[in-house]
Subunit: 134 residues, 2 copies
């Protein structure tokens, strides 16, 4: 498993004059995987940003136990989520969004907004493009 959050041009391109050197790419290696953002998001909506594994699993439609575990493990490793283990009779595990975890979601707001604004235009472009291809 590649556990990197890769940032921007892995290539040795010189920094540019105009903007800061790095486009936010590759974070998407982690954030872009199938369940990560869903998990962060669901946690952010929970009371105290905290849910147990089974609840999370139940509410993220379609996620398998395996993938949820993997996703949470990676988030924990990155410090975006904290794991609380209760050694009870049926064991209980809760996951909590950290401050940093909440920060990612805020950082995604701009993108989220952009998508909302532009999705119609994008879909229109696609329609035309695909049509022209016939």
């Amino acid at each position: 498993m590649d556990n990197s959050i890769r940032v921007g041009s892995q290539q040795g391109q010189a920094d540019s004059p105009q903007f800061r050197p790095i486009p936010s790419n590759g974070i998407c290696t982690r954030l872009g995987d199938k369940w990560t953002v869903h998990v962060l998001w669901r946690l952010s909506l929970a009371n105290e940003c905290r849910l147990r594994f089974s609840t999370l699993k139940k509410e993220l439609d379609g996620v398998t136990q395996r993938m949820l575990t993997l996703t949470l493990r990676n988030l924990e490793r990155d410090g975006l989520v904290t794991r609380h283990y209760f050694p009870e009779v049926p064991p209980r595990v809760e996951y909590e969004l950290t401050q940093m975890g909440a920060g990612v979601l805020r950082a995604l707001e701009g993108l989220n907004y952009w998508v909302r604004e532009n999705l119609p235009a994008i879909e229109e472009h696609r329609r035309i493009f695909d049509e022209a291809k016939q």
Copy 2:
């Protein structure tokens, strides 16, 4: 090829009270692929946001012709890039960032910034986590 920019919870979860309903996920299906952001970024730095194929290929270190073509085709389809074809003797093709294309990069600034701020902390968490696993 899946050409969707999928936004947020594909699941039928009810909109939440607190935030707007959708976390910006899945855009990463497109933006998160290996070369898309690199291409947008490189174009944004170019004169008139415009470069020919061969230049792009030369400057994006490691990209194959196939992947660059695919990436550009998808960007063109979405309306983030325009393709200009010149039927010359050795054919020439230029790609130009559209307004909307430039918009994505701006939308990514928040994320980009967040990564810069938090990468050290993330890497520290990883170090500790991995160490504890021994």
